[in-house]
Amino acid sequence: MTDTLIVIQAASGELGKSDLSAVGFGLELASAAGGQLDLLLLGPGAEAQAGPAAALGARQVFTMGGAELETYTAEVFAGATAFFLEGRSYRCVGAATNSASREYFPRLAAVLDAPMASDVLEVESVDPDRAVFTRAVFVGNLLATVELEAPRVLVTCRASEFEPPPSSEAAPIEAVDAPGGLAHPGKAFVGIEAATSDRPDLKEADIIVSVGRGTRGPEEGIPLCERLADVLDAALGATRAVVDAGWMANEFQIGQTGKIVAPEVYIAIGLSGSIQHLAGMRNSRTIVAINKDPEAPIFEVADFGLVADLFDAVPELTAALEKRSG
């Protein structure tokens, strides 16, 4: 019982940045426990993603697809992972924190009767009967040390805190048949409404331009920020106030509710920096803030601040950067 399993939700498309980071996290867990790492890819993209996943330093890659796994539901994913784990011994079972693992991992923990640590930032140690992690509490204002005492533990990680592993020799790939009857008879997936955008995804982007209430909405300041984002090939993010006002969709929200990001550069425009928002972006490599209020809390975490009216500063900055990039 020293090995680690990382479960990856393999929708269609390629492995995401947070999947790669989850593998990096898995290698840390395996090394802390003195064992090896296996990967389990679940979903319609499992087969296509298995090749690239096999070159990340794992001992073995397992895939599970089929009709019931075509669409993600918590019940099916918890059931599929529990089925896979039958007769297999892992010290740690992990995944990246996302809206799926936030629900199916605790469900799985209950089914397996295993303790769980959510959204950890660091792996402190993994001994045979004790695993110790660091995680953020109180809206990211404090760090807590969490100890799990059990021979098998579940743990999700904040992907932005872990590095994708270097590529390595290809590991063997094995397809596992999904058992029937995973779907809960009382649950139906009706549909998903997702905004389509040509800009990079928030979780993948190196640069994020994030807009606050100070932009005064889609008729006024937001198009200026979008223009800046396009020049920088940046993703667009938003505060809760912007989403609550209906100016941008929920999937753009950064913060305690919404996404937690840590890009190379985070450009905060017209947002004051509530503690809930800071919790979602404070670990960005470089933070730039543009706000006309010099007292705005965002300046306390900013590496570079500009006290200015965004309606002047953002178009000027866009023009200046356009000129420099030639």
Binding site: E103, D119, A150, N250, T286, F299, E300, F304, G305
Partner: protein, 250 residues
């Protein structure tokens, strides 16, 4: 119809939490407590469902000591009909709490369990999904809308997921967790507060309900975030553009 809402007593949302000397606990001496804000959304949603139906019972439940009584009363002041407090004694982990709540659900046989998506203190967000797993019920997480079907046999739930808005249909009994945009909780009215004092609170020892098992997850220490050195306030847009380019940030 019966609605069961789980809630947790948490420090007030704007409270400044300090680490106690020694670093292994928090200094909560002068901190005010309230119903976890996400659980408050769940209470509000249950009350709205009751209002839509005209008739339903809203039961609130918490796992905690004597001090949690106040938060049950707050929920009843908003309009919940009665409360159950499970006295756990000592530190319980998420799975133990979920087991106790599952035992209450088995006794109460609610049609719908509503919870906050997470508690703002430990931010684990584990208990609701563990509870759904123990009960074997369908679950929906991070709901921004819940609609009961005309025949009262199912709910259609819109969930805020990473990719956008996902719509699910759950046959009852089911468990749904509340996200920020689900509703705006009401304030308790003065008559509501008066009435709440007379509403029943059943107190049960956890051992009366279930074998909670051992505590296997513990917080053993706290530390503050590393202070970040203050950043530079720049004088002009040109300066900012220069810094971004020079430092190869873009």
């Amino acid at each position: 119809m019966k609605l069961l809402v789980t809630l947790k007593r948490t420090p007030q949302r704007d409270a400044r939490i300090r680490i106690a000397e020694g670093g292994d606990s928090l200094d909560l001496d002068n901190i005010q407590f309230e119903v976890n804000p996400f659980d408050e959304l769940a209470v509000e949603e249950a009350l709205r469902i009751r209002e839509t139906l005209g008739e339903a019972e809203v039961v609130v439940v918490t796992v905690g000591g004597e001090e949690s009584q106040q938060q049950l009363v707050s929920a009843m002041a908003m309009g919940a009909d009665r409360a159950v407090r499970i006295d756990g004694g000592g530190t319980l982990d998420s799975l133990q709490i979920a087991r106790a709540l599952a035992a209450v659900a088995a006794r109460e046989e609610p049609d719908l369990v509503l919870s906050g998506k997470l508690a703002v203190d430990d931010e684990c967000g584990q208990v609701p999904a563990m509870l759904a797993g123990l009960l074997g019920w369908p679950q929906a997480n991070q709901a921004s809308s819940i609609e009961l079907s005309a025949d009262g046999a199912s709910v259609t739930v819109v969930c805020e997921v990473d990719a956008g808005l996902e719509t699910l249909r759950l046959d009852l009994p089911a468990l749904v967790t509340a996200d920020l945009r689900l509703n705006e909780p009401r304030y308790a009215s003065l008559p509501g507060i008066m009435k709440a004092k007379k509403k029943p609170v059943e107190v049960l020892a956890i051992e009366e309900l279930c074998d909670p098992g051992a505590t296997r997850s513990r917080v053993t220490g706290f530390r503050a975030l590393q202070e970040k050195p203050p950043g530079a306030i720049l004088g002009s847009v040109d300066e900012l553009a220069e810094v971004l380019v020079e430092k190869k940030l873009i």
